[in-house]
Structures are given as structure tokens and as C-alpha cells.
Symmetry: C3
Amino acid sequence: MVYIELVGMLAVLQFFFFGFLTGMARGKSGVKAPAVAGDEGFERIYRVQANTMEMLVAFLPALFIAGKHWPPIAVSILGLVYLIGRVIYWRAYIANPDKRRIGFMLSMLPTLALIIMAILGAVFVI
Amino acid sequence: MVYIELVGMLAVLQFFFFGFLTGMARGKSGVKAPAVAGDEGFERIYRVQANTMEMLVAFLPALFIAGKHWPPIAVSILGLVYLIGRVIYWRAYIANPDKRRIGFMLSMLPTLALIIMAILGAVFVI
Amino acid sequence: MVYIELVGMLAVLQFFFFGFLTGMARGKSGVKAPAVAGDEGFERIYRVQANTMEMLVAFLPALFIAGKHWPPIAVSILGLVYLIGRVIYWRAYIANPDKRRIGFMLSMLPTLALIIMAILGAVFVI
């Protein structure tokens, strides 16, 4: 279970890192709180953070519940794909939002796999 | 506990489904990333997804902690009311945002009940 | 573990309270759904809620995993600092968004400490 905890916490740390970048971009862009729009560079990293949060809210519970029912190594590998997918998503989105699809898929598909594994794991126990 | 896991994962899957609809609406509406405004249809489903995330962040931990202290059947039924409430919220919001109140209440109130049950459960053990 | 559950659920309840204030501010400001901008007062409390959600998504899993590996009293105290930090953040942001830094730090730093404690806890077990 500790490998799964580690992957989960790295995903949280990665999300915090995107939040840090968003804060830096706010300072640099001059977009003053409470506004969250008005500068393309700020909006891009803000959307990376927001999209990562949308993923994380699904990824973390699916990771931990799948980890209770399936081999930790398989679950951890899917988690690593998610982490790499988010890095690719971030770099692509900053360069050109139209290129974000591959990184998105590389984090969305392992999350969807974990959700299905978690559901199957719970149902088979029932 | 597995019924509770199942309800929790169905809530995550439902949230992913709203995310999928938001992605579809983005393509159809022509609202280009990183923008998240400019088309009423896109904004409606985007707000359904965003509001569901706000609920989910509270619902999931409350569901699992309440499930440790209270009969799983009672906790699971509250979870099912939440799931149905979100479907009603979604359909109503898309049709007319002013009609979203009933669906909102049907997912907010069971979540609030689970939070209170989780707090009482923890306090009584103390 | 129950003290940690209690702190976690109080953080969820606090987030729900900010959501309630956001709903009240929407009614008062006349910002009609699906819009989330157009009134400074509404935008401020909405950003307090959104920023609290960004924190909560990291805080809760870090709290529970750190609580498995470290003394519950230390973990709970960090959680209490987070809760107080969010109150300060809220009051400061409503008064003047430029003054939000101290409250932000008082909730961000304990969350970061919990993430690092959770990672160290998992790695040492490995």
C-alpha cells in the first residue's frame, strides 16, 4: 500500500507545483485577484492547474480503492503513467493549448482504468 | 464497506461523465482553450462539472468516514440520493439554470448529512 | 485516528460554509448562473471558495496519509493551523485581496508539511 500512497502523494505534490507556477504567473502577468483572466500566459497555467484538480479529484480515490483490490504494482504503474501524462500535458498546454490532447489522454485513460478497476474490485467482493 | 466504495466510485464516474460532456460542448461551441466563457451552452455544462467537483470534494471523504462509524446501508442510501440529485441538477441546469435548486438540494443535503454523521461518529469515538 | 478524522471533516465543513457564503453572495450581487464574474464582492468570496477547494484537494489526502505514519497529535495540530489559516485568508480576502498572503501561507505551509510527512512516512516504510 505504501507505493500507492507514494504515487498518490507525488500527484498531490505535482498539483501543488502547478499551483505555485500559477501564483508566479499571476505576479508576472499583473492579473490582480480576484480576476482569473486577462493574460493568455496566466490563463494557460491556471487551466493546467484547474484541469489537474479535476483529474486529481477522480484519480486519488480511484487509486486508493483500486489499490485495495488489485496488485499494488499494476495500480502504481497506472499512477506513474498519470504523473508522466500530467507533465506532458503541462508542457504542451503552455507551448500551445491545441497540442494538449496526448498529455490529457495519458492522464485521463489511466484514471478511467483505475475507476473501472475500483468498481470491479468492489463489485466482485459483493 | 464495498457498497460504500461502489457508491463513491459511481460518484467519481458521474463526475468524469460531466467532464466528458464539457469536452464535447467545448468542441461544439468553438470556445477555444484556455477560455472557459463565451458560449451559454458550454458555460452551463462547465458549471455543472465545476459544481459537481465542489460537491465531490466534500462528499467523498464524508462518505468514507461516515461509513466507518454508521451502518453502511444508511450511508449508501444517502450516497444514492446524492447521485440522483446530481442527475436532476444536470438536466435542470442545461434546460434552465434558474431551475437548478431542487437537484442542488438533493445532492447538498445528503452531503451535509454525511459530514455531520462523520463528525458525530468521530466525536463519539473520542 | 479519530482526531484526524475530526480535523478533516471540520475542513470539509469549513469549505461547505464558504460555498454557502458564495451562494448568498450570488443572490445579493445579481450575478446570474452560469456567470461567475461581474461583481467584485461575489468574485472575492467565490475565489475564497475556489482557493479553499484547491487547498482541500491536497490537504485531506496528505492529512490522512501523514496520520498513518506520524503521531496523530502533531498531524492534528498542523490541521488546526490550516483551519485557522483559512479563516484568516477568508476575512483578509473579503476586506482586501492584496492582504491575503498571511492566511494563504498559514494554510499552504501546514499542507506542504503534511505532504512531505506523508511522502517520508511512505518512503521509510518502503
